[in-house]
């Protein structure tokens, strides 16, 4: 094991696994020169626009596209009857129309699309489509939606408005404990708030198919759904990754993909669609709002005896990934603790609220807020410190999770907690005050009056990769050849670079395995097999694994051709002892070596439907936070003073990128703790813009002392552990706990608003 702190993890140059080479897109992005999908351009292209339902629930009695078609400059106006294939899509099961037919189920649901020679013409024409709505009462409360008398939103769903109910039954069904604490917690609807709005360009092809350039997280999942909606074979729907401006789950579902292709195929011209900022809030799924009821029982000494939980996740109008989110919340619902008896019921529900699906943390975030709030309550009831009660119950390697799954690699939960606890405390603010260091900042609301410090802790557990028996694989094509007298490796995958740095990582792996300096990373597209999604903290593991496996096959072929040698290093074939045996350039000659490998992690199992038992997760990942906050208790304003984090990453493949993920994930958790919420009233979004959907600024995000542990996971390539999501889980409960400590308020809801603090 090695341990690195922030200081020793800075870039070391080079470019092998464990180095932090500079990102090829870094400077371009900082300078504003990077070409995002919204910058796509094609000679002669048209612009698409989308007409959306203003109502969360309505029957469409009639549609008249005539007035829109009459607008000069308009080339096509299409509705549900123009969808060439099946008018249904969805990541888990297709339940969402490409364009609404007889009913709309959420505010913002696409009803018609327009192509015109100018974006404004397209928008204005779309507004002229006449839609005759019969407004229906929306179902906006998830628990009401589960009642027998609630209107059923998807009549073909056998379970009414229930998308999925996951049961975990572990141990004694009726355990008794000395000390019992219970609570009900709610989590608001968080948005991924990526910077690059949904956008792409569809170019009709001569074979009757289409080439779609798009910012997405999973090219092949898009391809499958787009092809079905277009009624085309997959090979005639070719996807190419365009510049992605952040994702965080919001690009897992389709947005403009089918629409742009439909318009391009209909008009025979390239069609570009770019959502506006407000439209973007209606263009993607959000984090599930949740109500979570928990009861924890413990012995007088502080050993957990049982956890009972009921969780209701509002999936909104369409299923998206609600079923998998429900599975995560349930299986991880007791947290990173050894609990002999667990009883969880987790429900994912249809309503007429905005659809919810993937967002960084994926169900584990909501559960973590609740179980960590409970652990603090338990500590108070026991008269123990918050860290002690957690450490006492922390899982470790060999522990059994409520699913019966044994944690079969490092689980240094106790150590992570101790690391953040033992960090020195930041100094308290003192006169003369720098306003930027006080709650309210330069808005000058306090000069120290009412400011109380609080400290809180959080720790969480996240699964890495796709779970519950999903066939989770990635494909890599690696080629080694001589170019300009030098050996060059090229790596081709369909894995989406969404900002996380996979583009750098793939090159690092190729350099490490093939002993070459020059590596070309080919643009991701569907001409190579699926890489799976850039989500679930999985790409370093799965696509990293695929690239390594392909490199190994290439290396084996090269060594076979050389007839000698044990490895490749510095452009040479070398022996086990490192002696140079041959020059790689000579061995390769004019004949490249190329291998394509489909690589899988070890299989997982489906959950038993009645007990929730099963080897469901390929890997667990853990992070812990200590939050130090200053709260102006009279105004309810919060400044997070310091957010210390410790995380085990198995192997820091690219230490700078690891720190970036920890900082970014923690910032997103901070946002959920104190400001980020899509406010939905009666199914209508009240704040669809960055004016009123607030995300943390540089003055809200504090310094982050970070400890990175590297306990190798023997099952994973290079021993790595997924990094992206765990810090998003624990930062929210740590911050809310710190605010509770400062204010003495119960604060059962995230985000905490000033009103909740001043009461």
């Amino acid at each position: 094991m090695s341990r690195a702190t922030t200081e020793s993890l800075t870039a070391t140059g080079g470019g092998r696994v464990g180095d932090s080479p500079q990102r090829p897109d870094g400077n371009l992005k900082v300078r504003g020169e990077f070409a995002y999908s919204s910058d796509l351009w094609h000679e002669d292209m048209l612009w698409g626009a989308t007409l959306r339902s203003p109502h969360p629930h309505a029957r469409i009695r009639g549609l008249d596209v005539g007035p829109a078609l009459a607008v000069p400059g308009v080339y096509a106006v299409l509705t549900h009857s123009d969808v060439p294939g099946e008018n249904l899509y969805g990541l888990e099961h297709p339940d969402q129309p490409v364009l609404a037919g007889d009913v709309v189920r959420y505010q913002g649901e696409p009803v018609a699309i327009v192509a015109a020679d100018h974006p404004e013409t397209a928008r204005r024409a779309a507004a002229r489509v006449r839609v005759d709505y019969e407004v229906l009462e929306p179902v906006t409360d998830a628990e009401t939606a589960l009642r027998a008398d609630a209107p059923v939103l998807h009549p073909t769903n056998p379970d009414g408005n229930l998308v999925r109910h996951v049961r975990i039954r572990h141990g004694d069904p009726a355990p008794a404990a000395d000390v019992v604490v219970s609570g009900e917690y709610t989590v608001g609807m968080q948005d991924q708030a990526f910077l690059g709005p949904e956008s792409g360009l569809a170019v009709p092809a001569e074979d009757g198919g289409v080439d779609l350039y798009v910012a997405t997280q999973w090219l092949h999942a898009d391809q499958r759904q787009v092809a079905r909606a277009l009624g085309l074979p997959a090979e005639r729907v070719r996807l190419h990754l365009a510049g992605v401006g952040g994702a965080f789950g919001a690009r897992e579902d389709l947005s403009m993909q089918v629409h742009a292709c439909m318009l391009a195929l209909r008009t025979g011209k390239p069609v570009k669609i770019v959502y506006g900022r407000e439209e973007s809030f209606f263009g993607h799924v959000h984090r599930h709002p949740a109500v979570l009821r928990y009861e924890h029982g413990a012995t007088r000494d502080g050993d957990l005896v049982y956890v009972r939980a009921e969780m209701i996740l509002d999936g909104g109008a369409y299923a998206s990934t609600t079923a998998a989110v429900t599975g995560n919340a349930a299986t991880l619902g007791a947290g990173p603790y050894r609990v002999p008896n667990v009883h969880v019921d987790c429900y994912g529900v249809y309503t007429n609220n905005p659809p919810c699906g993937a967002m960084r943390g994926f169900g584990a975030v909501q559960a973590c807020f609740a179980y960590e709030s409970q652990m603090d309550k338990l500590a108070a009831a026991l008269g123990m410190s918050e860290v002690d009660v957690r450490v006492r119950n922390a899982v470790e390697q060999g522990s059994v999770m409520p699913t019966g799954q044994v944690v079969d690699s490092a689980a240094p939960v106790a150590e992570l907690l101790a690391l953040v606890r033992d960090r020195p405390m930041p100094p308290a603010p003192s006169a003369p005050y720098d306003l930027r260091e006080l709650p309210g900042g330069v808005s000058n609301t306090t000069h120290g009056e009412g400011v109380v410090r609080g400290v809180g802790y959080g720790v969480g557990v996240k699964n890495v990769g796709f779970s519950e028996g999903f066939d989770d694989y990635s494909t890599a094509r690696v080629r080694l050849e001589v170019v300009g007298g030098e050996p060059v490796a090229s790596v081709h995958t369909a894995a989406a670079e969404v900002g996380q740095g996979l583009v750098t990582l793939k090159a690092q792996i190729a350099r490490t395995e093939l002993g070459v300096e020059r590596v070309v990373i080919l643009p991701p597209d569907t001409s190579v097999g699926s890489a799976g999604s850039s989500s679930a903290s999985r790409q370093s593991y799965v696509t990293g694994g695929a690239v390594r496996a392909a490199c190994e096959e290439v290396r084996a072929a090269v060594l076979a051709r050389a007839g000698a040698g044990a490895g490749l290093a510095g452009g040479k074939v070398v022996s086990a002892g490192g002696d140079v045996l041959a020059d790689l350039v000579e061995v390769l000659g004019g004949e490249p070596v190329e291998r394509t490998v489909e690589w899988r992690h070890r299989p997982t199992e489906a959950l038993d439907p009645s007990t929730g038992k099963g080897f469901a997760h390929v890997q667990y990942a853990f992070a812990a936070h200590r939050a130090v906050v200053d709260v102006d208790v009279e105004l309810g304003l919060v400044r997070v003073v310091e957010l210390a984090c410790a995380q085990d990453v198995g192997r820091a493949m690219n230490p700078d990128a690891v720190l970036g993920q920890i900082q970014g994930g923690s910032a997103q958790g901070l946002g959920l703790a104190v400001m980020e919420e899509i406010q939905v009233v009666d199914g209508v979004v009240r704040n669809p813009s960055f004016t009123d959907y607030l995300i943390p600024t540089v003055l809200d995000m504090p310094t982050m002392p970070i400890d990175v542990l590297e306990y190798a996971d023997p099952h994973a390539p290079y021993g790595l552990r997924g990094v992206g999501e765990p810090p998003t889980l624990s930062s929210t409960p740590a911050i809310v706990a710190a605010i509770r400590a400062a204010t003495g308020r119960a604060l059962t809801r995230a985000p905490v608003r000033p009103e909740h603090i001043v009461g």
Binding site: V442, S443, N444, H447, E634, L635, V674, R686, D692
Partner: protein, 290 residues
């Protein structure tokens, strides 16, 4: 279908006023930090934009008869950098506007032009009893700030008029500005409060932002404080807790807040009482420090 938009670029104030008189529908654009948002969100499609960026008369400030004549397009950054001594309340408010990029472009003329109840320049202008100077080809007039705001986003400006400047009395005592928002930078006010003490005339000025259909003064609070503040013995400890509290409550009572996405009416009232109490104390400390 695409409507073209004229972009009028006067090089002098006289030319600007003539263009405005000839095109009363032309929308003035100064820093553009409100106008461009409205255009981008398709809230507005004017036939013409009248760019004030090249009108030199609007881009300067000077002291004049005990007041600062602050040109409509002087950006907030310059107000912070250059006017902190003479117009401390306005400079503090300017410091809270948006981000550095916004402060580099936007100014008070645009804030008044938008006439949002949440505009941060408004409370200090109310607290100091500033005048708004407006001009047209018909002539120039001044509108007392208290009469400028007619309703949410509605002002006393006529269709052919431009805001040319604000005339703000040079501070005759300590001033304060405080604003509540749910993040620590770049945030629209949930509510805000401006305070100006005049130690010579022994008066107190107030301005409330984002807690009513228009920016408001708290007249009863002003009268109360002017009356009870121990002007003759200005030591920090002479401002009693009761006085500060009563002042806060009178300010809260003057607000006419609503519940909206940014906060509840009850919270706004509560927060205003806290801000008023605190700012009075800070200002009084400054008095006693002299």
């Amino acid at each position: 279908m695409v409507v073209s938009m004229d972009f009028l670029r006067p090089a002098s104030l006289a030319e600007a006023l003539e263009l405005k008189a000839a095109n009363p529908d032309a929308v003035p654009i100064a820093g553009g930090t409100d106008v461009m948002v409205e255009l981008n969100f398709d809230k507005r499609r004017p036939a013409a934009l009248l760019d004030l960026g090249r009108v030199p008369e609007l881009a300067t400030w000077r002291a004049e008869n005990g007041r600062v004549r602050l040109g409509a397009t002087v950006p907030y950054t310059r107000i912070v950098d250059e006017l902190g001594d003479v117009l401390p309340g306005l400079a503090m408010a300017a410091r809270t506007v948006g981000s550095p990029q916004i402060r580099n472009r936007a100014g008070v003329g645009g804030n008044l032009g938008s006439a949002s109840p949440a505009g941060d320049a408004h409370p200090p202008l109310l607290a100091t009893g500033a005048d708004v100077e407006v001009a047209s080809t018909r002539g120039t007039r001044t509108v007392p700030i208290g009469e400028f705001f007619l309703g949410p986003k509605r002002s006393a400006l006529a269709a052919d008029e431009l805001v040319t400047a604000v005339l703000v009395p040079v501070a005759a005592g300590p001033q304060q500005f405080a604003k509540v928002g749910t993040r620590n930078a770049m945030v629209i006010a949930v509510c805000s409060f401006g305070l100006a003490l005049d130690t010579t005339r022994r008066t107190v000025g107030t301005g409330i932002g984002s807690a009513g259909p228009v920016p408001l003064r708290a007249a009863a609070a002003e009268d109360f404080a002017a009356e009870v503040l121990p002007w003759d013995e200005p030591a920090a400890n002479t401002l009693t807790d009761d006085t500060a509290k009563e002042f806060g409550e009178l300010v809260a009572a003057a607000a006419r807040p609503i519940d909206d996405v940014r906060g509840s009416a009850a919270y706004r009232r509560h927060a205003l009482a806290v801000l008023a109490r605190r700012t009075l104390r800070w200002a009084w400390q400054d008095v006693s420090g002299r």
